[in-house]
Symmetry: C2
Subunit: 380 residues, 2 copies
């Protein structure tokens, strides 16, 4: 098996290292605009050198970003090449097109590294749905924000200090927006629900609240309430093909399994009608863990053990968050328009309210109070 | 695909129910000595009716026990039939013979349901070891004992009450010895380490301490120490092909992931050199979860996506528990022969001592104090 590797960044170099040690899967060409020592003639800056190389049967897309990653994936499939990718943002936006293109060109598409990095979540979801009926997907899907929350709660540090520490440790990027605003989590949840519920959801319709506005006062309130804060994603099937789907900071009891997820670990879960709830805990990012997921996909293709993510006609999944609700912690200087009990200076616990209403009301609050923060409360 | 089902007990009837709804895998014959309504001519009390039926390509062994399960599995393989089993006790005893027989007869052998019931642990271990180097396997592999421990710690009930409650709920058997004495956990750990470390360990050499002697006084001591008790299994590679391997009640900090495992859930884990530690949490037993694992194996065989558990020459794995140690909680009326601090009436915290020495010393203590109890302490 010969592959073309698009992008020799952190994950790409991890995949390259592992494959060079193995010997069964050959890195024929590497696309990267930078000079990279040791690759010799295999390095190219022209995608066409990979596209037109008939000896390459599989393209591994590890460039990240929307374009040209999306274009290269589609063109590779049309040229009859299998595709393996770790690009959750791109896959969540172009899910239907990519799956249809892989099917119409009779090539394989694998995306294990898109959700959970080194955690074998997608593979298990694909296996489980062959037998079981998946009712729910969710969990802690972003390690950077879990590290920030864990640091703030254990050390009493403020948000900016905890973020800077995560950046120093290499767990947060220079521009942390995608993590702390929930874009990364939303992409992963969208992919998981598409696979689990056999359809295509609009990732922009997933209600998403990040942790950018979290303060030390909020953390003190959570402790006073006896709760821990985790950044949770959740998507549940409703009757008739629709689903709830949202990402928000969530207060959980300290003995909840989510509260035991420390540092930058992930805990990704699904619930089957037969097998019940399953949680998968591990490193959701990082060079070698994520590279393991990519290489696992390549071995599956090499040994023809492909589990296709495509089972559906691509029916749209309508997202309806009016059907789900709970209490919320809200901290705002603006006038709260939801019945609530005041628990601290400008901090409230609301009555149970739908997820749709709370996220919509938060937008209203931010007109006068851009720093408003809210978190769902799981108090069962 | 046509199967012969050996045993129509809890798991067998779960498998039957799921397969009847699917239609892609046909239950051709069922072996059971009891009369079972609805099976008609398919029911037989003679194993030979399955062995000699050339239309049956796969035998599903769900009888449990050592014999005749072991004999039937070997004879099925020799007759050219694939085997899927959930029988951890039998597989842990006859691992090498079964794997060699499957290889020499060129038939598939799948054992997903042997460890973790509905939790896809073995499948993921087999997938991970294709890429990664597995350093450690372990965790909470027995749901009945976790339920007993969780009940005792949350309600203050004694051991006998908690056991009877587990029996009433259907989670503990009338004779609970295999669970509470750790035989079930030891079988699972043996299978996991054989697969992870590519060899064959003697299951009788796995040092095993159960929870039969646990009392309310012990639970009160754990609380005073600020620890929770979980029933943990652990096997770690040593240099040169040997491994540590033991099963014992273990005190963990209340914020450890194991402490968050509630009721009869399992948390089964492995550590890879690349991917780090991964935990798999879910229902480790029960009719439909375990049946899901069996049916998943059958679908893999039907679609020729078999992951072979056989990669090794069956080299023996020597077990050496002198190479690992920690502090222990010990409650005994006999004279403790290990340096220790007294923390309660007849209850002690020892200095760090090897697992081998503690398990051997407990045998000595029990000559005069058959009710002595000990638990490892993980205080990092």
């Amino acid at each position: 098996m010969k592959i073309g590797l698009l992008g020799m960044g952190t994950i790409g170099s991890g995949v390259y290292e592992i494959l060079e040690k193995r010997g069964d899967i050959e890195v024929q060409r590497v696309l990267d605009l930078r000079k990279i020592a040791g690759l010799g003639d295999r390095l190219t800056a022209r995608f066409e050198d990979i596209l037109e190389d008939g000896s390459i049967d599989t393209v591994v897309e590890l460039m990240g970003g929307l374009e040209p990653a999306h274009e290269y994936v589609v063109r590779s499939m049309r040229a009859g090449k299998n595709v393996v990718t770790a690009n959750k943002l791109m896959v969540s936006r172009h899910f239907d097109e990519i799956l249809r293109t892989s099917q119409s060109n009779d090539v394989a598409f694998r995306l294990s590294a898109c959700v959970g990095g080194g955690i074998p979540y997608i593979h298990n979801l694909l296996r489980a749905r062959r037998v079981d009926f998946i009712l729910w997907v969710g969990g802690i899907v972003n390690g950077t924000t879990n590290l920030i929350l864990d640091t703030m709660q254990s050390s009493g540090e403020g948000f900016q200090e905890a973020l800077r520490e995560a950046q120093r440790m290499g767990y947060a990027e220079a521009d942390p927006s995608s993590d702390i605003d929930g874009v990364d989590a939303r992409s992963k949840l969208t992919i998981a629900m598409n696979l689990a519920f056999d359809g295509v959801a609009d990732t922009n319709a997933v209600l998403t609240e990040g942790i950018r506005n979290l303060t030390g006062q909020d953390i003190r309130c959570f402790k006073k309430l006896g709760f821990a804060c985790r950044f949770l994603s959740s998507a549940r099937r409703l009757e008739g093909g629709a689903a709830t789907a949202y990402v928000e900071p969530t207060l959980v009891r300290p003995d909840a399994p989510e509260a035991a997820v420390r540092k930058n670990d992930n805990m990704i879960s699904f619930e089957g009608a037969y097998a019940g709830v399953q949680h998968f805990i591990g490193q959701g990012a990082g060079k070698l863990p994520t590279a393991c997921a990519v290489v696992g996909d390549l071995i599956d293709l090499d040994r023809r053990r492909h589990l296709s993510p495509f089972t559906t006609n691509g029916a749209p999944i309508a997202i309806d968050n009016a059907q789900v609700g709970h209490r919320y912690y809200v901290r705002t200087a603006a006038r709260l328009g939801i019945p609530a009990e005041k628990i601290d200076d400008r901090a409230y616990l609301t009555e149970p309210v739908s997820v749709a209403r709370m996220h919509a009301h938060a937008e209203e609050l931010r007109v006068s109070d851009p720093g408003a923060f809210f978190a769902g409360m799981r108090d069962e």
